[in-house]
C-alpha cells in the first residue's frame, strides 16, 4: 500500500470530505446531463430524481477514488486543478464502465463477431472482398449498419419490420432453453437463433431471402429478455397501460356517441348495454327485423374508431369506455323519447 493510498483512505473518512465530494458529484451530474449522457450512464436506476442520481454518483465516486491509484497522487498534490481533473477522470471512468457493461452493446458485439466468423451467413465486408462485381444486397440500407444474410441466398433484399412484427416471431425454446440474457449471449445459441430468425422473416416475405440488420435481430431478442436499460422515459411506444388510459376512454365515449344517429344509438344500447336478445330488441324498437345488419355496421364503426388506441385491449379502460358510452346513450335515448312524446 503506497503512502498516498493510506493518506487518501484517511482523507475519505474526514468529516469535510463527504460534502466536498457531494459537490463534485452534483457538478458531475450537471455535466453528464448537459452532454445528454444520462440515459447511457444511469442504466441501473429507474428514476429521474436528481437526489437519487447524485447519491448514486457519490457512491460511485467514493469507490472510484479509493480504488484508482492514479487519482491518489492527484488528491495528495492538491493542486488548483484538482477538482476539475478529478471530475473529468471520474466521468471518463464511468463512461468506460458503461461501455463495457452496457448489455446491449455487449450482446451486439458478441453477435457481430459470431456472425462474421460463422460459415452460415454472409455480411457486407466479406462479399465485397470476395466479389466486388456482385450486386450489393445492402443497397437500401445505410452502409454503416452491420447486416447479415444467409450464405448462398438468391438475391437477398432488405426488409422493413416494425416492433409489432418482431413481437409476432416467437422465441424458440427448442433452440435455446430459455430467453435469458446469459444464455442468448453464448455463441452456441446465438448462431442457431440467428438462423431461426432469418427463416422466420423469410416466411413473412413468402420465401424472399432477407438482409437482416444486426440491430433488428438484437431488438427481437430484446422482446423476450431485457438487453438494454432505459431510464429516460421513452417517447412514442408505451406498452400496456398508460396513466392517460382511463381519461382517454371516457372522452372517447362521448366522441363515439356523437358519431351515431338516433337509431344506431338505440341498437347499440339495447344489444350491448342491456344485453337484450334479438326478439327483445325487435319488440323494444317496434321493428319488423332484428337490425342485425346495422348491428354489424356499428360494430365495425366501433372497432375502426378504437383502432388507434393502445388501450383497446386493456380490459379496465375498455370497460370504463363501455360503461361511460352506455351512460351517455341511455341519456340520449331518454331525451329523444321525451321529444317524441
Amino acid at each position: 500500500m503506497t503512502p498516498e493510498h493510506i493518506a487518501v483512505q484517511k482523507w475519505l473518512k474526514e468529516k469535510d470530505t463527504i460534502p466536498f465530494l457531494q459537490k463534485i458529484a452534483d457538478r458531475s451530474l450537471r455535466e453528464i446531463q448537459s452532454k445528454g449522457l444520462a440515459p447511457m450512464l444511469f442504466f441501473d436506476c429507474h428514476t429521474n430524481d436528481k437526489k437519487d442520481r447524485v447519491d448514486e454518483l457519490l457512491s460511485r465516486l467514493f469507490i472510484f477514488i479509493s480504488d484508482t491509484n492514479r487519482v491518489h497522487q492527484l488528491i495528495c498534490r492538491k493542486g488548483q486543478f484538482m477538482v476539475p481533473e478529478l471530475r473529468r477522470a471520474f466521468i471518463n471512468s464511468i463512461i468506460d464502465e458503461a461501455r463495457t457493461k452496457d448489455p446491449y452493446k455487449k450482446l451486439y458485439r458478441n453477435a457481430q463477431a459470431a456472425i462474421r466468423e460463422s460459415t452460415l451467413f454472409s455480411s457486407p465486408s466479406s462479399t465485397a472482398k470476395a466479389d466486388p462485381t456482385k450486386a450489393d444486397p445492402t443497397k437500401a440500407i445505410s452502409p454503416k449498419i452491420f447486416c447479415f444474410w444467409k450464405k448462398h441466398a438468391v438475391s437477398p433484399g432488405s426488409v422493413f419490420l416494425t416492433d409489432d412484427d418482431l413481437k409476432e416471431i416467437p422465441f424458440p425454446d427448442t433452440i435455446c432453453p430459455g430467453a435469458d440474457y446469459a444464455l442468448v449471449n453464448q455463441r452456441k445459441f446465438l448462431i442457431p437463433l440467428a438462423e431461426y430468425f432469418i427463416s422466420q422473416v423469410e416466411a413473412i416475405f413468402n420465401g424472399c431471402s432477407p438482409v437482416i440488420p444486426l440491430k433488428m435481430f438484437i431488438d427481437w431478442i430484446g422482446k423476450y429478455t431485457p438487453v438494454a436499460f432505459y431510464c429516460e422515459p421513452y417517447d412514442g411506444e408505451q406498452n400496456g397501460r398508460c396513466p392517460g388510459d382511463e381519461t382517454e376512454a371516457v372522452s372517447c365515449a362521448s366522441a363515439f356517441s356523437n358519431r351515431l344517429n338516433d337509431m344506431d344509438c338505440q341498437i347499440f344500447f339495447f344489444y350491448h348495454c342491456q344485453g337484450l336478445s334479438h326478439d327483445e330488441v325487435k319488440k323494444q324498437m317496434k321493428r319488423k327485423s332484428f337490425a342485425t345488419y346495422q348491428k354489424e355496421q356499428i360494430k365495425k364503426k366501433l372497432s375502426e374508431f378504437l383502432m388507434p388506441f393502445s388501450w383497446e385491449h386493456n380490459s379496465d379502460a375498455s370497460l370504463l369506455f363501455l360503461e361511460k358510452l352506455c351512460q351517455i346513450l341511455s341519456q340520449k335515448i331518454r331525451n329523444f323519447t321525451l321529444k317524441a312524446v
Binding site: A140, G157, F160, G236, E248, A255, S303, P308, S310
Partner: protein, 393 residues
Amino acid sequence: MVSRRDALKSAIRQRRCPPCSIKHMAQWEKQYKDHCRICPFCEIDPKDDLKDDLDAWNVFEEHFLKTFPDHFSSGNRKLSNIPETLEQTGKEPEVKPGEIRILKTKENPWDKGFYYSPPAVMVLKQKSASEEYIPVAQIFSEPALAGPGDLVIENLTTGSLCIETWNIFHVKMESLGRILYQKDQHIVDAVVTMHKDPDYSPEFAPLLVPIKPDGPRALFRQYEQETAQFFNEDKTLPPVFHFIDRTTLIADLKNKAPGIHWKDAPDNLWDIFAGAVLPDDYYPMAAASEDFMYYYANLYIYEKGKINEVRAVRAEAECVRTEVGIAYSIFLPELPVPWEGVYGYSHLKLRSGEIILPVEVKVAMEYRSLSAAFEVDDCLTGILKTALFCQKI
C-alpha cells in the same frame, strides 16, 4: 420504433384534424365545434400541444422560404414557395416529374366534420399541352404504416418518404403547392412500374410485411384513399380500389360473383379484372346475328372504393393499324350504366399466358367507345381482354 397503433393515431390526426390556425378562425368556428364533438383526439385535448407545434413550424417554414427564396434548394431547384402561377411569371409554370409537392388547401376543407389537410404528393408526369390534369401519387412519412404497394425511400436527412403507388390521382396545375424535394427519374419509373404491377418491388427499396385485413394499416389505407378522393380533381379518374392484396381482392370478387374464375393464375392486378371469367348465367343469350366479332368485357361497379357488383357486358372490337402498332376500338352498345365516369382498361393476352400492357387506353364518351393502343405488329397477336369500372350511382 413506433408501434403501428401509435403511428395510425398521428396519421389520422394529421389527415383529419384542423391545424392550429384554423381553430382560431371565426369563419370555421361552427365546423371546428362540430369536429370536436366527434373527434376523440381534439375532444381530449382541444389545444393539443404537439400538433400545434408542428403546425406552427410549418407556417414558420413557409414564411421563411418565402422571405429567403434563394438560399434553399434541392438539386438545382429552388425550394421557394412556388405557386409560380402564370400571372406571377408570365409563362406556363414548370412542373417536373419527381417533384414532391404539398397540395394547396381546398376552399372548403371540411367534409362531414373532418378537416382534410392537403397531403404531399409526387408528380409523375410533365403536363402536356393537351391535358388539363397531371397524375400524382400520394405520400406519407411513417414507414411503420407502409405495406406492399408503397415505395419506401429512407433518407437520413429528410426522413422516410412512403410513396403510395396504389393511390394515384389527378390534379390541376394550380392545385400544386410548394415544392419539398426533387427525386430522380428512376424513382418515378419505379412508382409507375409498381402501380402497374403491385408485386414488383425495386431492389433499392425494402420489402414490406403484408397487410392484415383488420389491422391498423388496412384502416390507414382507407383513410389515405378517402384523402385522395377528396383532392382528386379529374372525376373520370381510373378508380383506385381499396384492396389489401391480391388474395383478398380475389376472395372479395368470389364473394360478389360466386363462380368467378381465372383460366390460369392471374399474373397481375389488371389480369385479375380483365381476365376473370364469369359464371354462365352472367352472359346474356347469344345475339341472333353474328356478323361481327364480339366478346364480353367485365364491368365492375364500385362504391366507396369497394366492388359492389360484377357484370358481363357485350363488346364489339375493331382493330386498326397505327404508326406505332395497332389500336382496338371497342364498342359497348349495351352498357347498362351512363358513360360519364366509366373507366376502361384492356390488355392483350398471348397464348403463352404472357400479357401485353396497353400504351394508351382512352374512353371516347361521344362515340360510346373505348380505344386501346398496343405496340405490337399484328392484330392477331393476342386475345383482347377488357375491364370496365364505374362508380355506383
